[in-house]
């Protein structure tokens, strides 16, 4: 007996939403809120803006879901909405804003990669965690919205290039090129925290 192919649960939830089952959409909201919040928050560096944008993202997705034909996955589709709305928001906002940062989860002290980072880099070890957070966010905000989106998805959220290219609707080459340029800029801003 052949094994049945694993069914993406999103497909069923989307179909039920399209048939008018609002609870199915609630499940999608609950499932994607943490991930999309991370995307929008790391692009805006402001908790309140991220919250408002995320509400708008889900509202737009709910209004448009009848037109979702499944040409891409729901994951890609909702991420595209979130990235595009956030980029538009950042372009309108310009430079007039204040950072409103979330606290760093104290579990970071137990994170293997963070332990390695602090062990190998004396500037990072000596820096106050809050100071490091402030500096990282300031450096991110110096990037253009498009470059910030790529850095957020690749470096912070760990998405592969192929997925990012689908979400942004650009080639993988463009994703790599944007990452290269953004890293050069970030290195200049974060020189003091260089590991070696």
């Amino acid at each position: 007996m052949a094994d049945a192919a694993p069914v993406n649960p999103d497909i069923e939830l989307v179909a039920r939403t399209q048939e008018g089952d609002a609870r199915a959409f609630d499940d999608l909201v609950v499932k994607y809120t943490p991930r999309l919040y991370g995307l929008v928050y790391n692009m805006t560096s402001n908790h309140e803006d991220a919250n408002d944008l995320l509400q708008d993202v889900f509202a737009k997705a709910f209004r448009s879901i009848k037109g979702f034909r499944g040409k891409s996955s729901f994951y890609t589709w909702i991420h595209s909405i979130a990235v595009n709305m956030t980029i538009n928001f950042l372009k309108k906002r310009g430079r007039r804003f204040q950072m409103s940062l979330d606290d760093i989860d104290l579990n970071i002290q137990n994170d293997k990669e963070f332990i390695e980072l602090t062990a190998s880099s004396s500037p990072v070890r000596e820096a106050d965690l809050g100071e490091l957070q402030q500096k990282l966010n300031e450096s991110m905000l110096k990037l253009s919205p498009e470059h910030r989106a790529v850095v957020t998805m690749f470096d912070i959220q760990g998405m592969p290039h192929a997925e990012i290219s689908k979400i942004l609707g650009v080639s993988e080459g463009t994703v790599r090129s944007r990452l290269f340029y953004a890293h050069r800029q970030l290195q200049a801003h974060l020189e003091e925290f260089r590991i070696k």
């Binding site: 991370g38 919250n51 709910f62 606290d103």
Partner: protein, 156 residues
């Protein structure tokens, strides 16, 4: 490449920036409240229109929709052309009953073809120019031609 790895390691610290734990628990309720509030702010006609669109979208296959739309366009076009014809009826002119002026064309004597003259009946070209008042002589004359038969205003 080493530099890229350093940057990536540093940026991973941002993964640990998290909102308070209760934020994600209350987000769904906040979203629903926002949706409800937005719905209440929308005008009634918009809600009605959305419902009609949703109903038609659900219950009407595309083929029927296109057929109905095409029929509606044809009916509208037919109605519009019918109205155009109705508002501009063809005027039938009874030539025999219209006043005529007799024009006598007198041929020069040197070109006498044996006719006394040809008589051509022409319809009155300017029936509206006939005097409408009791004045038989024009009130104003410009360049020896009558310009108006109207009486001057009493204020003069």
């Amino acid at each position: 490449m080493q530099d890229d790895d350093d940057i990536t390691k540093l940026l991973r610290i941002k993964r640990f920036e998290q909102p308070p734990p209760e934020y994600f628990e209350s987000f769904l309720q906040e979203f629903k409240d926002g949706q409800r509030a937005q719905l209440l702010m929308e005008p009634a006609w918009r809600i009605g229109w959305d419902r009609i669109c949703a109903f038609l979208g659900e219950h009407m296959p595309a083929r029927i929709g296109y057929g109905l739309a095409s029929t509606a366009v044809l009916v509208a076009a037919g109605f519009a052309s019918f109205n155009i014809l109705e508002t501009r009826p063809i005027e039938m002119v009874d030539v025999a009953s219209t006043p005529t002026h007799r024009l006598v064309v007198q041929e020069p004597e040197s070109l006498d073809f044996g006719n006394q003259g040809n008589q051509i009946q022409l319809p009155d070209p300017l029936p509206a120019m006939a005097p409408t008042t009791s004045f038989s002589t024009p009130r104003y004359v410009i360049g020896a031609q009558p310009a108006s038969y109207d009486e001057p205003p009493s204020s003069f």
